[in-house]
């Protein structure tokens, strides 16, 4: 795995575009298709906006995003210093609910799981580390 993109920036919504630009440039340089890069953008937006909202909203720390590519697989590691939060453990939304019954929100983590080929969460002392991996081909669900 060689590192091909990295950004460390304050964990606030105003910095979403800078993070997205870092990831899309790295994925394009690695030769991934526009369609696959769209999937990555979606998963990364969902993961980082979750950090902006819940990790430490009153005192935003920094978020670090590192992209690497090896053996054809693109991986994006997202590290934040907020409170422990394992996005992979959230319950799946009930997609059969109608407009009135559906809760507002709750789709973000599900969209990450549906678009990334592999999602792993680790809690290190003081950090959440979420790694999203993507194969070149579109995920078959």
């Amino acid at each position: 795995m060689s590192s091909i993109g990295h950004i460390k920036i304050r964990a606030v919504l105003e910095n979403l575009q800078a993070i997205m630009d870092c990831v899309t440039a790295a994925a394009a340089a690695a030769g991934f298709s526009a369609r696959r890069i769209g999937d990555m953008e979606l998963a990364v937006e969902e993961a980082v906006t979750n950090v902006f909202k819940y990790a430490s909203p009153l005192d935003p720390g920094e978020i670090e995003v590192a992209c690497a590519c090896g053996k054809g697989r693109f991986s994006i590691e997202i590290r934040d210093s907020g409170r422990e939060f394992d996005i992979t453990k959230l319950p799946s939304p009930d997609l059969s609910q109608g407009i009135s019954d559906r809760p507002i929100g709750g789709l973000g983590a599900y969209l990450i799981m549906e678009t990334a080929d592999d999602v792993t969460y680790r809690r290190l002392p003081g950090f959440n580390v979420l790694t999203l991996s993507f194969d070149p081909e579109i995920k078959k669900s």
């Binding site: 059969s96 407009i99 507002i104 969209l111 549906e114």
Partner: protein, 110 residues
Amino acid sequence: MNIAVKKESNALVVTVSGRMDAVTAPEFEKSISGFIAQGEKVFVINLSGLEYISSAGLRSILACAKRLKELAGKLIFSGLQGHVKEVFAISGFHGIFKICDSDAEGLRAI
């Protein structure tokens, strides 16, 4: 994100292009809320020029749909493409919204 509107006899056609993400989605919700405040209840939302949508966009759409449901109004969608079509499908939005190929079809479906 860009929003353009056209008044038809039985609905307001709202064409949304660009990207509906965590930064821009609130603009969509605010815009639709403004039209609802002016008395509009039936919308055809044309997404043929929308390149990208995230859960923030879906959340704004659902919030508008809930308000309209209380007012006996509705949201109909037209022209979904590529990524947006896929995200609607993954999220089960095909099951809760009327989705048409064109505005004309959407206006007929009201």
